[in-house]
């Protein structure tokens, strides 16, 4: 009995130790990024962990610096890039919600010809490498006047965000018995009322998880805004390239920009954490 207990404790300690080890391993790039963002130029290429931290990099990317003013380097436009990222990513998720929730509901509830083909087509957006479609898309975009517009970027992000939302929510809607909707009809409620009062609370975990993931995918996207956007819509991912030129590499500023660019995702993930785990494991358990 005693030894069993001791063994159990040992196993718990070992598994904790392993998890901590893995945690350090997984987070190391992030830690390194934060460290680099706090270093000044000369320290940049050392592996010192003890140094005098500086917030100059953050100040420089947020407010520009003297050299930028003097025209030595291009004026940093991090705040604008950040806003562009925010507008395009949240806009894309918003459009995906408006289109994807009804689409997922329809795919879950109604029988119609070509239903599975249609669902698979949505999913197949995720298979195609972006590079395959980007050249024809850019030609189309230039002709339609969507090139270098926020709407254009939101639109092309649908390739990334929409399939995710549709497929996660579809399985949620399929799990809800149609009887519930019919019971509510007999009870005398309109479909809209039932949808918002009964169905939406049931799919909320899936909705939150899928929307967050969609937001992260959109935020992290590099290829689409690089090719389909110009200076008007330059996002943080594309702009981070600008910190490195042939003459000089501001890796510390790049790191500072990356740290700031990661913040919204981390904050969002933390705020809906309780939905996140439930939302993504729910569908999986059910198979």
């Amino acid at each position: 009995m005693q030894t069993e207990k001791a063994q159990g404790r040992l196993a718990a300690v070992l598994s904790d130790a392993f998890l901590i080890l893995y945690f350090l391993f997984a987070l190391f790039p992030l830690v390194w990024m934060v460290l680099v963002s706090l270093k000044s130029g000369p320290e940049l290429f050392t592996t010192q962990f003890v140094f005098t931290p500086t917030i100059d990099n953050y100040l420089a990317i947020l407010f520009g610096d003297a050299r930028a003013a003097a025209g030595v380097v291009a004026k940093q436009e991090f705040p604008r890039n950040f806003m562009n990222s925010l507008i395009t990513s949240s806009g894309a998720v918003l459009i995906s919600l408006l289109v994807g929730v009804p689409a997922a509901y329809a795919l879950a509830r109604y029988k119609f010809r070509g239903k599975e083909d249609l669902a698979f087509t949505f999913l197949s957006f995720r298979f195609a490498p972006e590079l395959v479609v980007i050249i024809p898309l850019s030609v189309v975009y230039r002709q339609l006047g969507l090139y270098d517009t926020h709407l254009g970027i939101m639109w092309v992000y649908q390739l990334v965000t929409l399939p995710l939302l549709i497929w996660v929510l579809r399985s949620y809607f399929e799990d809800i018995s149609p009887d519930i909707e019919q019971a509510a009809m007999i009870d005398g409620y309109s479909w809209w009322h039932v949808f918002f009062r009964i169905l939406m609370p049931l799919v909320r975990p899936g909705l939150a998880a899928a929307a967050l993931l969609a937001f992260i995918f959109a935020w992290n996207n590099f290829m689409f805004p690089l090719v389909l956007g110009g200076s008007n819509v330059q996002t943080v991912t594309v702009a981070s390239l600008g910190y490195i030129s042939s003459a000089q590499g501001f890796f510390n500023r790049m790191a500072a920009a990356s740290v700031l660019a990661t913040l919204p995702q981390i904050l969002l993930a933390l705020s809906i954490q309780r939905y996140l785990i439930r939302g993504l494991s729910f569908g999986a358990v059910k198979g």
Partner: protein, 366 residues
């Protein structure tokens, strides 16, 4: 409370599937009727048409004096207890029950009074503040019934209400549902494929098959006087035996002879005139397993048969004996603990008053 009247009701689905054909049925005010039939017999389509979830293809449906064909479900004043309960998961038990009253804009005090009254009747007062997800099947069943009853429906429908309960809960709920009906006196329709449920609860049973109403009546009616082979075989457990045979007159007596000549059955006088009047050449003889008696001695009286034991099972309170007579097979309910072996010869007597005869072609009772 109201009478429900279905007049020449048809339901044809897209693609031409005829789910319900020419259904005429009247359920009296305050009556408890069971709609009984195998899967796909049209009973669920009928129920959904009554509730208004399915459009009526043809015919007229009246609740009381109102023609309800075109009325939306919420204007028919019907209630349905779903097979899957269909409770609203985000709402508490209380709100689930009150949901309909809130839609009707009933005053809050009145809602509270009615919810508590119906909760007391179904003994769920102590769980009013829980949510359905925390509760088991028996409780969910009660909530779904409460939700249906709270609105005082003109017609109360139940779709396979006991199919998701375990055996103990099921027999308990059967009694409860009967009590509820006695208390509320609402016009009630129970849809089920389980004849035991129908027999236990309903005053009348309507048997359906292939979209056609076969027979309506009390259990005694459908059990003792089935109108055709389907009803005869569907009602009663174990099911009725059928023996195909042809009538033959010999020396002033009427015999039934099987197709392969493996038996000759001297027909009791009772049935003789009926068969002669019908004047048909092929009949199916129907006899329930409980209406066959094992004989110690072979006699030569009317209604006697000789066969060979193929299996015998002693099931505790009774025994089930399978006898083969040529190509035909008969199931007999016997006392338990008989010493019968495969291959033994047995003598059976068919109780004359319990023999049913059917036209082999139309399957209708003679």
């Amino acid at each position: 409370m109201a009478e429900l009247r279905l007049v020449h009701i048809y339901k044809t689905y897209k693609g031409g599937v005829e789910a319900v054909k020419d259904l005429n049925l009247t359920v009296a005010d305050g009556e408890f009727l069971a709609l009984l039939g195998p899967s796909g017999c049209g009973k669920t389509s009928t129920l959904r048409m009554i509730v208004g979830l399915e459009e009526i293809t043809g015919g007229e449906m009246y609740i009381g004096s109102r023609l309800v064909n075109k009325l939306a479900p919420n204007h028919r004043n019907v209630a349905l207890a779903f097979e899957t309960y269909a409770l609203y998961p985000p709402l508490t038990v209380y709100e689930n029950i009150a949901f309909n009253l809130r839609a009707k804009k009933v005053a809050p005090a009145e809602i509270d009074r009615r919810v508590r009254a119906v909760a007391a009747m179904l003994e769920i007062t102590d769980i009013l503040n829980r949510t359905p997800a925390e509760l088991g099947g028996g409780h969910k069943q009660r909530i779904s019934l409460a939700r249906a009853l709270v609105r005082n429906p003109d017609v109360f429908l139940m779709d396979e209400p006991l199919s998701h309960l375990d055996a103990a809960q099921r027999s308990h709920m059967r009694v409860e549902l009967k009590r509820l009906h006695a208390e509320t006196k609402s016009t009630t329709i129970l849809v089920t494929h389980d004849q035991l449920e129908a027999v236990a609860m309903a005053e009348r049973i309507a048997v359906m098959n292939f979209g056609v109403l076969q027979q309506v009546g009390t259990f005694e009616d459908v059990y003792n006087h089935p109108v055709n082979e389907f009803v005869a075989g569907f009602i009663g457990e174990p099911p009725m035996n059928f023996l195909p045979c042809r009538p033959q007159s010999e020396g002033g007596q009427l015999f039934l002879i099987s197709a392969d000549n493996s038996f000759r059955l001297l027909l009791p006088d009772l049935l003789r005139s009926r068969l002669e009047r019908a004047g048909i050449q092929q009949v199916d003889l129907g006899i329930r397993p409980v209406h066959l008696d094992l004989l110690d001695q072979p006699g030569n009286g009317p209604g006697e048969l000789q066969g060979v034991v193929s299996t015998y099972e002693s099931l505790g309170e009774e025994g089930q004996l399978a006898v083969s007579i040529g190509a035909a097979a008969l199931l007999v309910v016997t006392p338990p603990e008989l010493s019968l072996r495969r291959g033994d010869t047995v003598h059976l007597r068919l109780r004359a008053s319990q023999i049913h005869l059917f036209d082999a072609k139309t399957q209708a009772a003679l």
